[in-house]
Amino acid sequence: MVSLLWLVPTLPLLGAALLGLLAPGPRVSAVIGAGSVGASAIIASAIGISWLNHVPPGHVFVQNLWCWISLPGFSAKISLYLDPISLLMMLVITIVGFFIHLFSTEYMAGEDGYSRYFAYLNLFVASMLLLVLADDLLVMFVGWEGVGVCSYLLVGFWFQESANGYAAQKSFVVTRIADIAMLAGLLLLAVKFGTLSIQPLLAYAAAAWPHGGVWPETAAALLLIGGLGKSAQAPLHTWLPDAMAGPTPVSALIHAATMVTAGVYLVVRTHVLFLLAPVVMEAIAIGAAATLLIAAFAGLVQTDIKRVLAYSTMSQIGYMFLALGAGAWSAALFHFLTHAVFKALLFLSAGAITMRLHHEQNIFAMGGLRTKLPVAFWGFLIGSASLAALPLISAGFFSKEMVLGAAWNLSPALWAAGILGAVLTAIYIFRAVFVVFLGPAHSEISGAYGVRIVLPLAVLAAAALTIGWLETPWFLGGHAMLSEMLAPAVGDSGERGVSAIVPLAGIAAPFLGIAIAYLLYRRGYWHAQAARAPGFLAGALRSAFGFDALYDLLLVQPFLACVRALRHDPVDMFAVALEKLALTLHRRLRGSQNGRIRRYAAWLMAGSVATIAILVFG
């Protein structure tokens, strides 16, 4: 069974090729598009079940596909590496991906470029699977770039609007800058060790490099920058809110559940290297805390429902990085799992709302949708509960508890940031819930939901409620099924006992947040804040503390100034000067061709006289 692993990334790739080359009609596109990912999901699930029944030796399965590069100093093979980490990621990508594809078949019905959409989406799934299943960092980089390209293509899907094109460019350029750093890191590792095959590389690194030495710090820092860019963490986070210009299922799949977690996956996969770089680990933790707070504050003042969710994604991935900074790899992966589920649920619910409201995305233009759109309401509510980590009923609670526990063990200050973030999370998401679903209706509703909309929402909602029980904390039974599965790959997750403050605060925080959100809602504060022009604080928060403006000032304006200065191609001026010189000389010399024979005779004579004089006197 597990030898069918190669089919998992190949089927979506084939789907993408077929859709891209043939561009069939809507029905066929839907079947190929959703079907290829569905087939991958089935095979992946089968592999998962067979894994649980009969774990391969060493908890690793490698499937070699072919040899790519074979040079004296370096070699790379394309092979698929299945261990608990990549198994988990693969299951999430294919299963959640399948439901999102199913949702898309109805959401995107009637759009131009239907087959193009599914081609890109399939290509994305194939690239993401290649990324997580790669046995070699170079192959992973191929997948990394592939998802970046697909993100660009999908964010700019409605390219007829130039704003969408710019948003796509922005996402691509920012992640590209990060990718350059990552490539530098990969080159460093390749040069030092002659291979980028992950397991041998990590073994060499652990043997050759000292803990806290310059090389591991540098390599880890470079790889981290790449991960930060892809995962939209500060300071490379500015692209994610604008990437909401793409279709909502795209936001669900790429910018919530999968691509933005690639950075988390990278760190977990190469955690041996990161363990050698304590400075980088500290930086990860601090940066993560900063990001989650920045994003949470920004989410408080957004008016576009998708932007609220985008900042929420940024914030939650900050939690994952916080866990990584604390060395709690299993916690990070658990939070990834629950986040994928509830964030996809939230985005799909938001999509379900907007598709009935003529694509109105301003939450203050919505209202009273609790009774009008019950499916969307329950989906969004369950997703919000999970996001806010409501105790026991939501999956988010369990994973966030694990992350906060790891943060406490690292540093109480970071834990405090995490708890503050949790309160803010509850505030902003329930602000959105109350504004959208309660109160009087401001917009009219059209259309109806088909089963392809309702089914994914239902499945994801069920998962968002139950999946948390995979890993219960010590005070609820301590059944650490996920950690046990992941342990062989990540080492001991270091589950230590924490003081009682942590779970108590963790239970109280969401309630506190919901209460604050509700009170302010009742007082009409949210509506009033949205209605008046944003003051300095609100403006700063809305733009997530002005990183865009900062980058514009520091990077874009100098670049444009250089472009303007070099517009007339000063380097070319040298060649142009030569040309002008030649022409000037030509014009001067032309004057001597005046056709007058006396002049010619005179010059001839002068030349002859000069020659004779030289011969005589020289």
Partner: protein, 161 residues
């Protein structure tokens, strides 16, 4: 002998100077003829009677006569004469004189710094010339006749309407 030489030299110089400064081409040519005739005298004093004869017969008698025929054919009128005079302004002589002076200086230097031979001039008779010409210089004679042939054919071709 020397006196004859000097007189003839003076006449040559004067008539040549006149020849190049006349407005009327016929006048110029007639002066040229005179200079050629006095040149023949000079040849004679230098012990080259054959060259002197040739100078008169060929140069003065054929070349310049040909020149005169053509000039007559041009039938230049008073307008042409006036134009000639207009063209001969003083300023036009300046630069040529400079150039000529430079060349003159160079040639003079060459001449005065070469060793001389003060032996008496011997007369080279036509017989000697002929003997030399048809023994050692026969190749050059053939080439010269070919040159004349080329000139003949060219003149014939170019002159046809």
């Amino acid at each position: 002998m020397t006196a004859v030489f000097f007189v003839a030299a003076v006449i040559t110089l004067i008539t040549t100077a006149l020849a190049i400064t006349r407005a009327n081409p016929v006048h110029g040519l007639l002066n040229f003829v005179l200079s050629l005739l006095s040149m023949a005298v000079i040849f004679f004093t230098l012990g080259a009677p054959f060259a002197a004869a040739l100078e008169v017969m060929v140069y003065a008698g054929a070349v310049v006569v040909l020149f005169l025929f053509v000039v007559m054919m041009l039938s230049l009128d008073t307008r042409a004469a006036r134009r000639e005079r207009e063209w001969m302004v003083k300023t036009v002589w300046v630069l040529p004189i400079v150039l000529v002076a430079v060349l003159g200086g160079v040639l003079a230097r060459v001449m005065f710094f070469s060793p001389g031979d003060d032996s008496a001039p011997t007369v080279i008779t036509p017989q000697e010339v002929g003997a030399h010409l048809f023994s050692g210089g026969i190749g050059a004679v053939e080439l010269a006749s070919m040159l004349l042939l080329a000139g003949l054919i060219g003149a014939f071709h170019m002159g046809r309407k």
